[in-house]
Amino acid sequence: MPDTDFIEQLRGRLVELGCPKAHVRRLVREVAEHREDLKQAAVLEGLSGADAESQANAQLGDPIALAEHLMVAVRRSSWLGRHFVVTFSLLPLLAFPVLWLLLMIIELSLGFALGFGWDYKKLHVAAINPVANHHINIALRSMDYAAITLVALLFCWLARRSAVSAKWMVTSCAICSFYALVTYGRVEPHSFTMGFITSTAGIPPIHQCIKATIPLLIAGVFYVFQRRAKHELRRNATA
């Protein structure tokens, strides 16, 4: 098998398996160098160029199997990859409320500082005014959307980084989506409420439903980008 075929097959399979780009680049470069070393060693043993190449290929084995083996090693090399069930199904359940609350507090503090200069009186006056109250609620909803987006992005990024399969990314985003459906923040005259919708009666408000689609959309975008990268690679390999 010519050099380029071996390396391209290795690269292609690594991308197909969802290996992060930085890992693919580095692994492929190092395996290519390793293969070159094996070839040189075989030449020094007295083999011809073609025989040395065949021996190097035999020592490295099937590039597809090697890519799969490398991928297992990449997954096992990180804590997230070794404990992917905990990270992408249990961790979002526990971490989402904490992260969401933390992000909301940061965003609210920023909004309060920039919009009202830390002055509670100004906030109370604005909350009584129906138009200002409406604007505050829109800003609050935007902050809520941003918090949900950031948490979903974090789990998608972790899934990509630890090279786990797409289903785990979708699982964590589905959990985020569920939480997005039941968490809320609202400003009313003289009161600010934030928490979980506990009532099971009726359908959640439309904005809750829109919010719940954000993590699923993010998972979809990540998945599409991954598919496009694979197709691009296949096109380059066949070109």
């Binding site: 890992h23 390793h34 490295l60 083996h69 090399s77 990180s78």
Partner: protein
């Protein structure tokens, strides 16, 4: 030659790699060859599979890497860090404790 090593050798690759890198900077191929020759082919790393392992050790800050040109070839050389040296000391103590214990038991069986 066996391509895989028995499961009771979990943790041994880390010890071997750190031990080899404690002597000098090495690249992947050199490490694989050194393990093969210095253990008289009793142990071997699958070709190519050393790299994710080295990346893991680098992420754990036990080794560091740099590109180096030697004889017109550019390669990633790995070397032990202070944390890696500490880990090597721990693993060496653990290994000596285990091998001494196993040796005592084996000698007892033969006695």
């Amino acid at each position: 030659m066996k391509k895989t090593n028995p499961s009771f050798l979990n943790g041994v690759p880390e010890l071997l790699v750190l031990r080899l890198l404690s002597g000098r900077e090495m690249y992947g191929y050199q490490i694989v060859e050194a393990i093969r020759t210095q253990t008289r082919e009793a142990l071997s790393f699958g070709e190519g599979c050393i790299y994710p392992y080295l990346h893991y050790l680098e992420a754990e800050k036990q080794v560091s890497s740099r590109r180096r040109d030697v004889d017109g070839r550019s390669r990633n050389y790995y070397k032990l860090t202070a944390r890696g040296r500490k880990r090597l000391d721990e693993l060496t103590c653990e290994w000596n404790r285990v091998t001494t214990g196993v040796s005592l038991l084996m000698e007892g069986q033969h006695a």
